[in-house]
Subunit: 788 residues, 2 copies
Amino acid sequence: MRQGLTTQQLQDMDAYWRAANYLSVGQIYLQDNPLLEVPLLLKHLKPRLLGHWGTTPGLNLLYVHLNRVIKAFDLDMIFIAGPGHGGPGIVAQTYLEGSYTERYPAIERNRNGLCRLFRQFSWPNGISSHVSAQVPGSIHEGGELGYSLVHAFGAAFDNPQLIAACVIGDGEAETGALAASWHSNKFLNPIRDGAVLPILHLNGFKIANPSVLARIPHEELISLMRGYGYEPYLVEGDDPLLVHQALAATLDTVMQSICDIQAAARQAPKGERPQRPTWPMIILRTPKGWTGPKCVDGLPVEGTWRAHQVPIADFSKPEHLQQLESWLRSYRPQELFDKNGQLRAELAELAPTGHQRMGSNPHANGGELLRPLSLPHFHDYAVPVNRPGAVKAEATRVLGNYLRDVMQRNLESGNFRLFGPDETASNRLDAVYQVTGKAWMAAIEEVDLNLSADGRVMEVLSEHLCQGWLEGYLLTGRHGLFSCYEAFIHIIDSMFNQYAKWLKESKAIAWRKPVASLNYLLTSHTWRQDHNGFSHQDPGFIDHVANKKADTVRIYLPPDANCLLSVTDHCLRSHDYINLIIAGKQPEWQWLDMPSAIRHCTAGAGIWNWAGTEGPEGPDVVMACAGDVPTLETLASVTLLREYIPDIRIRVVNVVDLMVLQPNSEHPHGLQDNDFDELFTNDRPVIFAFHGYPALIHKLTYKRSNHDNFHVRGFCDEGTTTTPFDMVVLNNLDRYQLALDAIERIPRLRNDVDRARERYWTMMEWHKRYISEHGEDLPHVRDWQWTF
Amino acid sequence: MRQGLTTQQLQDMDAYWRAANYLSVGQIYLQDNPLLEVPLLLKHLKPRLLGHWGTTPGLNLLYVHLNRVIKAFDLDMIFIAGPGHGGPGIVAQTYLEGSYTERYPAIERNRNGLCRLFRQFSWPNGISSHVSAQVPGSIHEGGELGYSLVHAFGAAFDNPQLIAACVIGDGEAETGALAASWHSNKFLNPIRDGAVLPILHLNGFKIANPSVLARIPHEELISLMRGYGYEPYLVEGDDPLLVHQALAATLDTVMQSICDIQAAARQAPKGERPQRPTWPMIILRTPKGWTGPKCVDGLPVEGTWRAHQVPIADFSKPEHLQQLESWLRSYRPQELFDKNGQLRAELAELAPTGHQRMGSNPHANGGELLRPLSLPHFHDYAVPVNRPGAVKAEATRVLGNYLRDVMQRNLESGNFRLFGPDETASNRLDAVYQVTGKAWMAAIEEVDLNLSADGRVMEVLSEHLCQGWLEGYLLTGRHGLFSCYEAFIHIIDSMFNQYAKWLKESKAIAWRKPVASLNYLLTSHTWRQDHNGFSHQDPGFIDHVANKKADTVRIYLPPDANCLLSVTDHCLRSHDYINLIIAGKQPEWQWLDMPSAIRHCTAGAGIWNWAGTEGPEGPDVVMACAGDVPTLETLASVTLLREYIPDIRIRVVNVVDLMVLQPNSEHPHGLQDNDFDELFTNDRPVIFAFHGYPALIHKLTYKRSNHDNFHVRGFCDEGTTTTPFDMVVLNNLDRYQLALDAIERIPRLRNDVDRARERYWTMMEWHKRYISEHGEDLPHVRDWQWTF
């Protein structure tokens, strides 16, 4: 290895760093005079000063140095900026290397372009202040903190040549998601996967406080990193020239270590289980707001939390303008840019070229690399259903067979993984283990099953890691599915939000190519948590998803296994959506054969004529349902009604794609009003049995003409460890309640209401007595009489 | 220190452990024959076998040993069971020590009681399978994993005599929240606060996988714990007698270490800053499902993931019944219980008595210890408002003055803390630093401000820690307020869910005394994220909260500083609620003087006559608003309307307490229908400007008679780094849009619609051009003409 930077290298790299810092400060402050060709005046400053300076010089330093090792080691590297509110830095870097102008030709590499670059930053209709989808080379939004490292690992999986350099802010390091992410190294295979280089940037402060990791003793910090399984390398200082040398030497060592680890693993005899290596990581300790003003108004700024955002503000004080000008001139812009405002050629040469530039790495625009999955014919996995209710099946187990073959067919291309928080088998998707194992690079013992260094099922007891890995995997052009207990998906509500925002933004950016959809399969759902009770009963994620932009989210509630197959196949083929699928894992009656299921799922909602009895004059009542358990209860209530009131006219409507309920103006899947009315009528009572909170159905349908007749039953936050039937009773979603609801709302049955209520209370008494005594459900499930 | 357990002690403790294990297995399996007085028959088994065995023997072991040290060291200790799905264990222990029967007299300490104890477990109308609010001595629900350690710290704050023994499952240890929680020791003051004893229980497996921490090398694990700042003590084995001795010796050492640390800190000279000690922690490595069946159907069970739930099932195989009987008899119940089914006296003596029993510790029923806060008169902090719109104020800064004095008045009782993820100052509550600092036990440097070992403001960049600490603090009988950026509160959506469930359950338990409400102040909200853009813009937490039980949640949107004072005072006095308060921090116009604010907040919603013009024939339109920014835009639109259409009749309704909108049948704050109609009329158009997603207003009001005339504007997921006014424009919530909405819906103004639309488009053009050029808002804010 070389013994350090030459004087020339050192000077050039420092100049490149100064250029990036200069452009960063320029973005925060300037709207004119970008090369400081004339003395700085107030009118050159933006009227509103927005941006984050504190973390920026550190990000810039790392980017410059990573550029060097990319060239020296001929690397394929992406940059993940955990402290992504340092947006000006990454924008500056991608501008300097040319990536930015290639994506945004108006931001030319000259004085005019500089002016636009500065002006657009944090400007209405310009670019955001954080690293976002707008920034070339980014797969990571710099807003909510905590997800950088998990994104880096997601990107590295199945990309053996890729190195994800991941800067972790010391503020971010305090978050839960980040704290858990360090252990991702137990899931990374040095043969099959690429490398992640975590760089913990201790600049010491958050918005208003010191950071924890910057204030624990050195030995504790080193011990912590070793405990996470990394070999830490410390680079520390506030003298740029010394830090340049130290960082360069460390990066040489670290890159060599990564190459050695990979070479050793990859040259080992085939079939030998690879060992988990001790990957290197870097701790970089430099001042917050480094190279910025030391003091403002007599208070220290550089090296303190005061450097977090805009260090000099309030330009009513004349000395502030002067101070800003000195700060800007301290980077000696005239040495960095030529007269036209172009970075001097000898500096521009420092950056890599083409796809080796981190702003142009195709992995960071994953759609460019996306190949469609090879999918089997999902019809081949169909549950044979001769007549509705003839057989039972476990929907997710059926899906497991299909997913096994999806996995099988894409093993070679290595672009599909399943993610789950220790629940893949519990969710009955374990057929996949016939073709692949669970990724596991920690120790293995004799008793273990299905663990493998090559496994493509990602299991860890952290929803944050599942979500973050999958996001990183998708944004770098691959495919995946995340299966989760329904209640606990709320753990990643906020990550979902941020990902939905990313998708929305990236769809508006022409050069961002579509990526595979993020697919959730929620099972072990609210209605069948017999083992676990109330803490595991919550269907609110549907509401959370339904709040997001209609062009981004899809919500499916397949009523049986064949519908689940059809819906999942559709989702795996889709792009740029977040697909939410909710389906139970317990043995349940099956309703549709595969041709019917496909028709039904394609329509999104439909009348189940085989269950209804309406005749020419139309129905007395529409019994609607969405979700597998509500469908079961609805059909059972229809059976009861038809038995006790033989001349009743019932229409059964099942909804698979929840978004059909919304007006067409609100969601592309929304039914036209006349189609909606054809399903739900204009004037008949609609008893709607819903998987989630009932109010959501009202929220989706309140603009429909028949809305006032909608009567919705669903989860009303009642639950405990109890039997499946008792769960629906507790929430008034049971067959008896639904039947009573119908009778109460059909005008011509007014005389039957009292008798029906009486019968209802009798049934409830019987139910209560029975389960208190037997601890199990009423033996009430009868044979279904349906035929197609 | 003693040199180990005597033979008698050893035998007795092992017997006590066997008794607890026996009762645990009994709860999972038996509905009869609780003492195995006759050979086990199928009819003695429950029809459905639910529960989690795997973690239970470890929890039981720890409980028995902690009982010993409580007596030996005269300790005040609570037990937090991270792997709380081991419910049968904690139920068994609290039963054995007598706490259970004191709370539930029907569960007598005899054969009959045993039978009921067994039968109620995981039984409809019985008790849940996890540790829950029903279990005496618990402050921690055992459903969703990850929050044990943070709850333990929350309990220990300001309880100098208390030790929170916290068992952390190795599955749970993989979660984000738990991974972040270890660093809570940087916030615990050994003088003022109690101690937390983390016990990492490595039983090696989760549901279906080994756990990460059980499969990293010993040195890494030790290094990790040292990195977190703890001194780890390892106890390991599978021979009960050896483990008893090792655990007893370790607990003696560890308890002595805690006592020494506290003594040293507390005896130090007054005024000397206490140092962060290296607290001890224990790593306990014992087999999963220890003492359970070694093998079932030829497959290993003890020491594997197969022991997770019910190790022997499927009693159609006769050998299973035999195997279960052998397992139960292996605990030798006849040696443990007398003929009547009572624990033998010599064993019962091992448990502590009275409040020293962990199931009877009053800290774990915090309402018993709750003292009301001493609150200043909030009127004293009022912003003087002579006429609406006469002055501007920063609402949260005004509140900060009040909170400072709340802090001041309760410093001595030490039962109030503020929690925030590095945002207290950013949220403009920094007046509190005049009377207290930020808790900080890590290193302090010269540049730091307001850090203090005695600080009562809890700042860490982790919403999980803020939420979890506060939960632990409240459930042990204290008060607090959590201020957070609005968008990022979603990080704790799932913790909120679980806490809401806990509150709902505990309110149904007579012996659980009411605790102080959990108060959220969300600020730096969606509409004023000029610095940060889209990632920081999300008002969806309101929807999340609104899904929960009406008797648990409250949502307030005070329109100005005086209303914020009134609402906050109310919330700090309340019990057993979750109060969500949303208010901006930016300088905004003030509307109500304090008497009006109090009247308005007490009513929850009201007509602002001073802003309206309706006259005797009633309004043409109702302009309604909820939230500070929507209120501003509504009043501005009213100004426009009154200026351009002098004879327009407008009613302005402001909503502070969102739940007034719900029907009275759904929420206790819900207005009666006639009161609602008096505000919103029966037939006039209502233009409703809302802080959050508009659909929520429809969801709350769809049953109201005038609902079809409600036209709601709110956040529709559009955002970026832009000016405040542009944000409302992007989401169609701006004054021009609201005015146009009104004109379009007033029949008698039909002829004005075209002109109004034209004017609207002119305004929008002007707006767009102006902000593109100037990067700041239109100079459109006019003087307000209101008088009371």
